[in-house]
């Protein structure tokens, strides 16, 4: 962990140096971009709207294609230009391919068959509903010139120096104040001494109080006080020792470094993925289950990189999210370049955070499915956690408190109908707590 922070500092200094060059190059690039844009628009008069194209691309194509990297299908940056240059294929061919690639392949088209075979005979989904305008929009989007990723790092560099000056200035003020107080104190001492000297010189006798017993001696002589203090001291230390000892084995706030930096904040928070999508066994099993890597790969097969903004945010805390995704690929045995599994998997050894002792039986499905309790009730604001930690104390007192306070969710559950009716009559209450249902009995959790 420490090392990665070190490297972050290195990066930032490098970035600072590069800023100047970047600004220059970006300007040049920008100019070139404008020229290019005007040129290209003049080249293709019927061309579409790249903004619309982006939307269309994301809904229709992004599942299998990326602009700059091959995925299930080939990379599509400047595809029209490329096809025209290398294969001599025109817009009509592209449209035909998009609308029904199978037909093009069947027609015996040489390039179509070549592509088909290169991708292991996986045919591209047909999009017969796409209008000519849609296709030109998409192609316009693919033909867009790459934007420089400068702004992200730029702001990053911009913020850092500011904050350091902030810090140093406040320290400066504090230091000055401290100096001032020091001077004042010294002045006071000097003044007193001078006054004393004056008094001496004038022969004024400074009345010295007759020295009584010092306070501590008086205290020691008073047996009663000593005993009372001793008892108090013992009680207090017993209290604190007990408090300390009862904390042993309580790992609230335990936040170990995991082999892959997995951000719950990005997944559950920013992207709003339901907890039980990955921790699916929490619904039916005693364990919530750490998701198997194939669950990760459901999405990460297509997400090999994070958005630049996210990357930048990660850099702030010293994490390169893209590198973490690569770690996932290495573990799952996924070759990003070849877009297939190599078969050499390397299971991830996560550090377990929530460790209930062996003698306590806890069942997730009881709480999640039957009780309808939010995961956050025990696990805290997971959707805000960049690094997962143990939110609750997981002590028995904590369990028991909740069982005393929480009402059992009996609605629409035929299992509870009879017992709820009988028990609410017995206790004269409408709602029943877990404790009233017998949820405090030893054997319910210890066997």
């Amino acid at each position: 962990m420490k090392k990665s922070y070190q490297s972050l500092e290195d990066n930032s200094t490098n970035n600072m140096k590069q800023v100047i060059h970047r600004k220059l190059t970006s300007k040049i690039l920008y100019l070139g971009f404008v020229i290019l844009l005007t040129l290209s628009t003049s080249l293709q008069a019927q061309d579409g709207d790249p903004a619309k194209g982006k939307a269309l691309f994301n809904t229709n194509c992004a599942a299998c294609h990326k602009l700059d990297k091959p995925m299930t299908g080939p990379a599509l940056r400047n595809i029209e230009q490329k096809l025209a240059d290398e294969q001599g294929l025109d817009r009509a061919w592209i449209s035909a391919w998009i609308r029904n690639s199978a037909a093009v392949i069947k027609s015996g088209d040489a390039y179509a068959n070549k592509i088909f075979n290169e991708h292991n005979g996986t045919a591209m989904t047909a999009f017969p509903t796409l209008e000519d305008q849609d296709i030109s929009d998409i192609l316009a989007y693919t033909a867009e010139v790459v934007e420089t990723p400068a702004p992200g790092t730029g702001t990053d560099v911009g913020v850092n120096p500011n904050s350091t000056t902030d810090n140093s200035s406040s320290k400066l003020i504090l230091g000055a104040l401290a100096l001032l107080f020091g001077l004042l104190a010294m002045a006071l001492v000097i003044v007193r001494r001078t006054l004393n000297r004056f008094a001496e010189a004038k022969g004024v006798d400074i009345a010295t109080k007759e020295k009584g017993l010092p306070l501590w001696k008086a205290f020691v002589k008073n047996q009663f006080l000593v005993i009372v203090t001793a008892i108090l001291f013992l009680l207090a230390s017993a209290y604190f020792i007990f408090g300390y000892l009862s904390q042993i084995g309580v790992d609230q706030g335990y936040m170990p470094v995991q082999p892959i930096h997995y951000s719950h904040k990005i997944h559950a928070g920013d992207n709003g993925i339901d907890c039980k999508y990955c921790h699916s066994s929490a619904r039916v099993s005693k364990t919530s289950g750490i998701p198997s890597l194939n669950v990760c790969m459901n999405c990460h097969k297509t997400i090999s990189e994070v958005a630049p903004e996210t990357l930048a945010e990660g850099n702030k805390i010293g994490v390169d999210y893209n590198a973490e995704i690569q770690k996932l690929y290495a573990a799952a045995g996924w070759s990003d370049t070849e877009q297939k599994y190599t078969g050499e998997s390397n299971p991830v050894k996560w550090v377990r955070i929530h460790n209930l002792p062996d003698f306590a039986y806890f069942n997730h499905s009881q709480h999640v499915t039957v009780g309808g309790i939010e995961c956050q009730t025990c696990h805290g604001p997971v959707e805000e956690m960049e690094v997962m930690y143990q939110f609750s104390s997981l002590t028995m007192g904590w369990c028991i408190n909740c069982h005393r306070e929480t009402n059992v969710k009996v609605e629409d559950n035929a299992y509870y109908t009879k017992i709820h009716e009988q028990l609410s009559k017995k206790y004269g209450v409408d709602k029943l707590t877990v404790a009233q249902m017998g949820g405090l009995e030893c054997g319910k959790c210890h066997y």
């Binding site: 998997s345 039957v370 066997y447």
Partner: protein, 1037 residues
């Protein structure tokens, strides 16, 4: 007045000039204390830089460091699947139906797996053939995780690869075929249609192939008899639920007789319904499970049994049989015969005498009675061994006529009486291969050990009974580099398909008749359309006379073959150990024999009279252990030395018994090398042998869990009555509730007026009760092993068992009557008057401690009774044991500090204390000490540590799971869903578990049953376990 006596301490003081006395005046010790010796010499001591202070510093520091380090929690890693199999959800158990067919035990079972690990065997309730899983089948799951398994193919003790194995063996087999030498396949009974087909393919390819089927414990005589009568080599199938009179001559049909599995049917007929139950007469030598359950048990030596069977034949069918029986046996046989005749087609005769004539006679009597109990349509296929073939093979091998021998599922060097001949023959073969899970006695001397998988890792099919098929499927990926025999046969015959595909193909074409293979695999079994009875020699009018004549011959031959010279030995198999192939299974080793209650041993059972004559004794020693003499046992010149002796009440005078399956020497841990190998005496595959027994020197220490053998007339522990009384008298007469005096008025103990405690309202929610029917319980012990597996009960070993530190949560107490009947005991106790004299209690109680020569026997499973007013709960100083409102007595292990007050206060003695840490402890080197063995542990139940009390929890993990499943589905719980490990393991229906607040449930009705009583009801503990009074059918004809 003070005396001037001089006290002297030793004679030495009288010697005035003794230097010793002088020295002792100065010194405390006569000799110099050798301090220098243990401190080293002075110079090195002074040269050492470590001073005493430094030393103390180090000690202090390391103690402090150790305690500080202990505060740090360990880092626990969690490794999820890379690709999670669809059917596995961590934390949820999967069940697979499969079939065990290890050559001795055949049963359809369900396997519970967690995270891909099989952890428990359960009954396949769909199975109609072969009863339920017995104790050994329940324990077989532990064999999968045996750390001594062979982990890959071996050649001459060195590991090789399967490809090398294939190359070499193929070459060798081809060479042998070309040389025209014989290849022998020596296998267990597979009873597998697919394997039979494979073997015939193998025969086709290699030509000169002989297949010899070898059962370690042979049923050859019964097979021959059945074949002669019905034209099919199989065993007669009996459904004892249809029997009203059962006469067994030496057949332990509740044990392993003819493959076992008859007990569930038997138990059904034993529960009195509408005033009727079956009558069971047992004529036998050893006290067996069947004898213990019989209404009338007649001890008879093997030779007397033969004559008794012949006489039975003559009394039932007619004809005369020469020979004289002792009067009481003859009377019993006469009465049995008349009862059989009375029962007619509801009567049945079975025999365990290893003699074709005897088996024929039994078949003939059943045919004569046209017994409905005997099921001709589905004979049993699970024993196919042929003694003559095996004998020929051994002779041929010795003569060097056999080129290659390939063995699977057999261990002849252990199980053959003439093992030396076999070993000699084995050396003369050019190729010897053993498919084995262990480097056992045989495999360790063959050229190749082909590492075989456990049945839970294998594919297979079994024809349990004619038309009743079972499928074996793997429930875990093979743990080691193993290959099953059938796959090897496929390779050798040049077939590339896997055995799974082969079976599937074979079933689809031959067996299923259009049904789905997947469905059969899901069910684990398939019952084919009943084939029309093949043209077996039907007993038509014409040949009835003829067969009667010939069977009359059989009876006469049987009678004439009955000769006795001195003592007669009956070899038997124990419920726990069977034929001995699972000897490395600590659960089975620690399983107490249902009758002798001795674990970790086999022994010679001797009757009291014979023991006296031979000067053999059993006695108790100070630490509570049972000790006994040794005896040397000789059969036909073969002697087994130092066989420990147990005096067995009920053993027929003039007979002794010894169990097979012990005395293994290879392929098992040292702790498991228990007992003596009785196969050496199993000559001519006959369980009955003439024997001479002489006392030997030395004392044997037994690990016996029950030292008090009689009930001492305490009839309220096991309540008993006879069918006659049960049918005619009021409940208060035979099952009275005990009374106590309240203000000089006799008040029933169940009345709240005489209770110390206020009753807690248990009418809401579930209230669990367990009912145990003493009529249906045969004492088989399947529940004991099921409880072990479910609850992670540790194995403690022989010496701890001997100290009464057994950990079984569920024990099956066995009681003998001291008089002829338990009723006699009660009467005797009632009639005591005064301390001394003829009816004095002092001498009387002494007498009652000794069981009768042929006692009545009763079994009683006892586990925690989950008392509503539990004595254990009130004495726990830390409230570690408390009561749940569902009726269970909870035990919080982590709260227990081990004062053992609870165990002291428990009237049922069901609490078990962990004297040691039994897991991961080299002192207890059983399955919980190795990584492999611990895979069998149930993850839902905690493994207890040292110093805590534990006991039956009424499988709270199972009841809680059932409740949770219902909650999740949002439904009510049906009767029968709640089960404990023992109740679901009991295929006899003796244990019924459920919720008594569900008034429609079976257990609620049983609670209201007239036969219901609570154990030690007078104590007022109000248990949640109840018993159903045992009823004996004593009606004599």
């Amino acid at each position: 007045m003070s005396s001037n006596k001089k006290y002297w301490k030793s004679v030495e003081e009288l010697n005035e000039n003794s230097s010793i006395v002088e020295a002792l005046k100065q010194n405390e010790f006569v000799e110099e204390i050798p301090t220098d010796e243990f401190l080293g010499d002075k110079s090195t001591l002074e040269a050492s830089s470590t001073t005493r202070r430094d030393f103390l510093k180090y000690v202090g520091f390391s103690t402090a460091a150790a305690s500080l380090a202990a505060c740090e929690g360990p880092v626990i890693k969690s490794i999820p699947y890379v690709v999670q199999p669809e059917e596995i959800i961590p934390g949820v158990a999967n069940y697979y139906a499969t079939t065990i067919a290890d050559g001795f035990d055949f049963a359809s079972v369900l396997v519970k797996t967690r995270e891909g690990r099989p952890i428990k065997i359960e009954n396949n309730t769909m199975a109609t053939a072969n009863g339920g899983a017995n104790a050994r089948v329940n324990a077989s799951v532990l064999g999968l995780y045996d750390s001594l398994r062979v982990q890959g193919p071996k050649k001459d003790g060195k590991s090789i690869s399967w490809s090398a194995f294939d190359l070499e063996t193929n070459q060798k087999l081809t060479d042998l075929m070309n040389a025209g030498k014989e290849i022998v396949l020596l296998t267990q009974t597979f009873a597998s249609p697919s394997t039979s087909k494979l073997i015939s393919n193998f025969k086709e390819k290699y030509g000169n192939v002989r297949h010899v089927v070898y059962d370690a414990v042979s049923e050859s005589a019964a097979l021959d008899a059945y074949q002669a009568k019905y034209g099919e080599r199989a065993l007669a199938n009996y459904d004892f639920s249809k029997a009203s009179t059962i006469v067994s001559v030496g057949a332990d049909f509740l044990g392993d007789w003819q493959g076992g599995g008859f007990d569930s049917g038997y138990a059904q007929g034993r529960v009195p319904q509408e005033g009727k139950m079956s009558r069971h007469i047992q004529i036998e030598a050893n006290m067996s499970l069947s004898g213990a359950n019989a209404d009338k048990r007649v001890p008879a030596t093997p030779s007397q049994q033969k004559l008794a069977l012949a006489k039975l034949y003559s009394y039932v069918i007619g004809g005369s049989v020469s020979g004289d029986l002792p009067k009481q046996i003859d009377d019993a046989v006469r009465k049995a015969a008349s009862q059989l005749k009375e029962a007619g087609s509801n009567g049945v005769v079975v025999t365990g005498i290893q003699d074709v004539n005897a088996q024929t006679v039994a078949l003939e009597i059943n045919a004569y009675l046209s017994s409905k109990v005997f099921d001709k349509s589905a004979p049993i296929k699970t024993r196919q061994g042929n003694d003559a073939d095996v004998a020929t093979l051994v002779a041929d091998m010795k003569a060097g006529k056999v080129g290659a021998i390939i063995m699977s599922g057999v261990n002849p060097l252990y199980t053959l009486p003439n093992a030396n001949d076999f070993a000699e023959g084995l050396k003369k073969t050019e190729l010897s291969i053993a498919f084995s899970m262990k480097a056992d006695e045989t495999a360790s001397v063959t050229q190749y050990i082909a590492a075989a998988p456990h049945y839970l890792e294998s594919w297979g099919d079994v024809e349990l009974k004619k038309g009743h098929y079972g499928l074996t499927q793997p429930t875990i990926r093979p743990l080691f580099d193993t290959r099953q025999f059938q796959d090897a046969l496929l390779k050798w015959t040049g077939n590339d398909v896997s055995y799974h595909d082969f079976i599937k193909d074979n079933w689809n074409t031959g067996i299923l008749g259009g049904s789905s293979f997947n469905q059969a695999l899901h069910d684990g079994l398939f019952v084919g359309a009943m084939p029309a009875l093949e043209n077996a020699p039907e007993t038509t009018e014409a040949n009835t006379l003829e067969t009667v004549a010939s069977s009359g011959d059989a009876a006469r031959a049987l009678a004439s073959s009955s000769k006795a010279e001195g003592l007669e030995l009956t070899l038997y198999t124990k419920v726990g150990m069977g034929d001995g192939q699972q000897a490395n299974n600590p659960w089975l080793q620690e399983f107490p024999d249902p009758l002798t209650r001795v674990s970790w041993d086999n022994y010679l059972t001797v009757s009291t009279a014979d023991a006296k004559q031979l000067n053999l004794k059993n006695w108790h020693v100070a630490n509570g252990g049972l000790n006994g003499n040794y005896a040397d046992v000789t059969v036909n010149g073969v002697t087994i030395k130092n066989v420990p002796v147990i005096i067995q009440p009920g053993q027929a005078n003039g007979s002794v018994g010894l169990s097979l399956g012990y005395g293994r020497t290879a392929g098992l841990k040292d702790e498991m090398k228990t007992g003596v190998n009785a196969y050496a005496l199993y000559q001519n595959f006959n369980t009955a042998q003439n024997v001479s027994v002489t006392a030997a020197s030395g004392e044997h220490e037994f690990a016996c869990v029950q030292l008090q053998n009689t009930l001492m007339g305490r009839g309220d522990i096991i309540k008993e009555t006879t069918l006659e009384i049960f049918n005619t008298k009021d409940k208060d007469y035979w099952n009275a509730i005990p009374v106590v005096s309240l203000n000089h008025v006799e008040t029933p103990v169940t009345s709240p007026d005489v209770d110390l405690w206020d009753e807690f309202d248990r009418s809401i929610g579930h209230h669990f009760n367990l009912s145990i029917d003493l009529n249906a319980c045969t004492g088989c012990g399947a529940c004991v092993i099921a409880c072990h597996a479910e609850n992670n009960v540790p194995v403690v070993g022989k010496s701890e068992i001997r100290r009464s530190r057994d950990m079984h949560w569920l024990r099956i107490d066995r009681y003998y009557s001291s008089e002829d009947t338990f009723e006699g005991d009660d009467t005797k106790k009632e009639n005591f008057s005064g301390l001394f004299g003829d009816n004095g209690s002092l001498g009387g109680f002494n007498e009652m401690e000794t069981p009768a020569d042929n006692p009545q026997v009763a079994f009683q499973p006892v586990m925690c009774q989950h008392c509503n007013h539990a004595p254990c709960e009130t004495v726990c100083p830390v409230a570690a044991t408390s009561h749940g409102r569902q009726g269970q007595n909870h035990m919080a292990y982590n709260r227990c500090v081990g004062t053992r007050y609870c165990a002291n206060n428990c009237p049922y003695k069901v609490r078990r204390f962990n004297w040691f840490l039994y897991s991961e402890n080299d002192e207890f080197d059983y399955h919980m000490n190795d990584d492999l063995g611990r895979m069998v542990l149930n993850p839902d139940v905690v493994v207890r540590s040292r110093g805590v009390m534990e006991k039956c929890s009424m499988c709270i993990q199972k009841t809680q799971k059932t409740i949770l499943d219902a909650k999740r589905d949002g439904r009510e719980i049906k009767d029968g869903e709640f089960q404990t490990a023992c109740s679901s393991a009991c295929s006899n229906g003796a244990m019924t578990f459920g919720d008594i607040n569900d008034k429609e449930s079976k257990v609620a009705k049983l609670k209201e049953d007239n036969r219901m009583y609570h154990l030690l009801e007078s104590v007022g503990t109000k248990p949640n376990v109840m018993y159903q009074t045992k009823v004996r059918n004593t009606t004599e004809a």
